[in-house]
């Protein structure tokens, strides 16, 4: 299935600031459910003026602990997002990949 579903971030946050952890968790759950069901996801950042890593780590970063990096990149698209915010997204992605890599290495060591 290749259908894309749009998630409007502002509709979940209800404000221009994407900063709240609970909102991040809601978005994470929606994305996870859609990927599990083989959908593509469009994250629409229309009307979002402030975006922080604490929010993105929850909404997006923790997906890298559930799915393969390539799968995430092929399934999630970012729309209506500024270059500055996309830079933050990329920092969160890089950090998340390193975080889960380190975690799996530690788990291997323990075994």
């Amino acid at each position: 299935m290749e259908k894309s579903i749009r998630i409007n971030i502002y509709n979940i946050t209800g404000q221009h600031d994407a900063i709240n952890s609970d909102d991040g968790e809601k978005i994470y759950s929606k994305i996870k459910e859609l990927i599990d069901k083989d959908y593509n996801v469009i994250l629409d950042f229309s009307n979002i003026t402030h975006l922080i890593t604490a929010f993105l780590n929850i909404a997006y970063g923790q997906l890298f602990g559930q799915f393969d990096e390539k799968l995430i990149e092929s399934r999630i698209a970012f729309e209506n997002i500024s270059d500055e915010d996309l830079y933050t997204v990329n920092r969160v992605r890089k950090n998340a990949i390193e975080f889960f890599l380190k975690k799996s290495q530690e788990q291997t060591k323990e075994k």
Binding site: Q15, D17, I19, N20, S21, T49, H50, L51, I52, T53, A54, F55, N57, I58, G61, Q62, F64, G65, D83, E84, L86, Y87, T88, N90, R91, V92, K94, N95, A96, E98, F99, F100, K102
Partner: protein
């Protein structure tokens, strides 16, 4: 108990040390009468009222009566303009120059109120300097990161904030304070080894280091804050437990141990408002 407030409480190592000492001296007080005597105090940097306010709030929650006496006229004026005085004496005077950033206490769930506070005190206030939209955005996002760090890591109930705009120096100082688990406590628990307050702060400011346990990555907020302040030629100060850590406008880090422990974390940022950088970052 009478606490004599020292002559100068500034955004320096000794200023933070004085604040920590006041916490230390009063830490076991319950159902008492505590007097803060300002007879010798001639200067109190306004942003540090966030930490002093946290102290008074903490003491009041332990059923102590607080009295503040012998305020110097200039110190009293600062306290009145930013609303701190109203907390202790019930009156606020008008800040004609509009250079104060109000003293405020937030619950950790008050993110929306905090956002409105930043807008009204920093970004829409007529007396505040005109900054580029890119700079405004970066400032607000970085302040949110600090607010969130306090929520995630300290387990505190309240967050205290206060600031001051120095128009001649083109600087804004803003402090965000929590009384909760210190950085040293969290890092010590996470690494499962003894670590000094200074080393714990240094560890926390490095990329990817986070004390968060579980499936959510972290450790970027302070790193991005440092990067921003470096570009902005601003300053970052972190005080937690017995650690004082500062990165100045030239990127030089100063680390010192305080005599007494601060029972939480103070993050003070000094923003260069004369910065004309557009902050248009390209995608990696």
């Amino acid at each position: 108990m009478i606490i004599e407030v020292p002559s100068q409480i500034e955004n320096t190592f000794s200023g933070y040390q004085h604040i920590s000492e006041m916490f230390d001296k009063t830490q076991n007080e319950e159902f008492g009468d505590i007097v803060f005597d300002f007879i010798d105090c001639r200067w109190f940097d306004a942003n540090l009222l966030a930490a002093f306010g946290a102290l008074i709030d903490n003491l009041e929650s332990n059923f102590n009566n607080i009295n503040i006496r012998n305020l110097d006229i200039r110190v009293e004026s600062i306290f009145k303009k930013n609303g701190f005085y109203s907390i202790i004496k019930g009156a606020r005077s008008i800040d004609h120059w509009g250079t104060t950033i109000k003293y405020q206490k937030f619950k950790t769930v008050d993110e929306i109120l905090f956002s409105k506070y930043l807008d009204s005190e920093l970004f829409t206030k007529k007396s505040m300097p005109k900054m580029s939209s890119g700079l405004n955005k970066r400032i607000k996002e970085n302040i949110f990161e600090i607010f969130n760090n306090a929520i995630i890591h300290s387990g505190c109930e309240y967050i205290y904030t206060c600031g001051q705009y120095f128009h001649k120096r083109e600087r804004i100082d803003l402090s965000i304070v929590d009384i909760g688990k210190t950085i040293r406590y969290n890092v010590k628990e996470f690494l499962n080894k003894n670590i000094s307050g200074i080393d714990a702060i240094q560890w926390a400011t490095e990329e990817s280091n986070t004390t968060r346990i579980g499936e959510i990555p972290g450790g970027l907020g302070l790193k991005l804050l440092r990067e921003f302040l470096k570009m902005n030629k601003g300053k970052l100060q972190i005080i937690s437990d017995n650690g004082f850590w500062e990165e100045n406008d030239e990127g030089i880090i100063e680390k010192r141990e305080t005599n007494t422990c601060f029972p939480g974390t103070i993050v003070n940022i000094e923003i260069n408002t004369g910065d004309e950088e557009e902050y248009k970052l390209s995608n990696e």
